[in-house]
């Protein structure tokens, strides 16, 4: 069943594209005329090696854009898993880039999907798109929007001057959906 109310924390190293992935998800919500918010961490934690952002998609106005008990965690490195796994709400979803995370802590009551996203990205010739592979996996697990909406959202988020990146992004998204 489609899950439409999402409170997501995306976290990883700076440069892994978590903020961009968050923007794609928020853009999909915007295209479906829902309430959305996107909030990056810009504080000291960002200077300590992890970058994270909060994304909310809802049918109601968004209260706090800062997500403290996510129902989805997308974690792309070990510190992010360690920091956020216990904050995920009961019944929530945890998407982990298993090529970057060696020690998966135990956590009951949530669905954990381990996807070797960075490895898959390297093998398929689109380095740096592990973020989009995980976004595809998020769609496969939750169907938080129409599939076409998500494709359109990626197209909106790829800057006009970097259109050559659109095709690899769409391929990475499809690959993630098949995981």
């Amino acid at each position: 069943m489609a899950q439409r109310e999402l409170s997501i924390v995306l976290s990883g190293f700076g440069g892994q594209g978590l903020l961009f992935a968050g923007k794609v998800i928020a853009q999909a919500g915007l295209l479906e005329e829902r309430y959305v918010s996107w909030l990056p961490s810009y504080g000291p934690e960002m200077r300590g090696g992890t970058a994270s952002c909060s994304v909310v998609l809802s049918d109601d106005p968004v209260g706090s854009p800062l997500v403290t008990t996510p129902n989805v965690l997308i974690a792309m490195n070990q510190p992010s898993v360690d920091k956020f796994i216990d904050t995920v709400s009961e019944g929530g979803l945890v998407l982990v880039d298993s090529s970057m995370v060696q020690d998966m802590p135990a956590r009951d009551g949530v669905t954990i999907c381990e996807v070797p996203a960075t490895k898959l990205a390297d093998e398929n010739g689109f380095k740096t798109l592990a973020n989009i592979i995980l976004t595809g996996k998020l769609f496969a697990e939750t169907e938080f929007c129409d599939k076409q909406t998500l494709l359109d959202a990626v197209a909106k988020c790829v800057p006009p001057k970097k259109q050559e990146l659109l095709e690899p992004n769409l391929k990475a998204l499809e690959l993630g959906m098949q995981q």
Binding site: L30, W38, G63, T68
Partner: protein, 354 residues
Amino acid sequence: MAEKVLMKGNEALAAAAVRAGCRFYFGYPITPQTELAAYMSKVMPKVGGTFLQAESEISAINMLYGAAAAGARAMTSSSSPGISLKGEGISYMAGADLPGVIVNVERGGPGLGSIQPSQQDYWQATRAMGHGDFFMIVYAPNTVQEMADMVFTAFEKADEYLTPVMILADGLLGQMMEPVELPDEIGELPEKPWATNGHKNQREHNIANSLYLQSDELEAKLLERAKRYEAIVEKEQLSEGFMLEDAEIVLVAFGASSRIARSAVVKAREEGIKAGLLRPITLWPFPEKALAETLSTAKAYLSVEMNMGQMVDDVRLVVEGRAPVEHFGRTGGIIPTPDEVLCAIRSLNEKVGE
């Protein structure tokens, strides 16, 4: 209708300012408002405007004074420590009756404080921005859409009342992205016959000055300005009510904390507590009339702020002891959670319940 786009609050505010006819921006970088200045640096040259990164905040505010005196729509922005530096210049602008827009994307204080969102500058904005008897209109947006809309209103009101106007936002509103529909480009700007611009000796010289060596002249000027303040207090109070019709526990919150307070009110209602929210949109003038109307049902008030308790003073001034008024806050850059606010609502409800 314009397309809705995802934008950061800082950028939406800057984009709307340009559409409101702002052609001069003076600033100095500081987290968490830097995207505002960055946007201006890209866009101003394209619209024939001026972006100037000043050597300091004090320079920037005095450039604002100059541009405003010359009749331009002009803006400066900073975050808390930088706003303190602008205080002197804002007082001079108020003393010379100059319109201009000042944006404060607040962070934790005092001193250099933290770079995280706070609402610790409420007293400064509404009471003590600088020396002398003066006020400025203060708008407190709580969405990215309002960041865009209110800067438009700020320019209009600054010109109408000849006063500096402040947008009091915070790091949360500045950094977050939400869908926003930018306002249309403004058409004609108001005439400014008082401006100190070139006129080829066609009229008397205009002077923009805040110095009055004769005390009686200064007093007369202050009394004239006070009439304008009275008009502002009468006509410009803005607020938004949420579930207030039968509210017994009335929350009062502005800006970012009002979003969290709203979530807490929804949760309290689910528990059967008759909570409601009054959100001041103008902080000065404080929405006294709307708050006074809640007295008919209110048993207690809870001022929810990201500080140690500042706006709670204004709530008490309106309530005048007719109901208990409490404060709940997190400070120093901590954003309260709806559950924390809910706990404060519950305990207040128990205290005043039959």
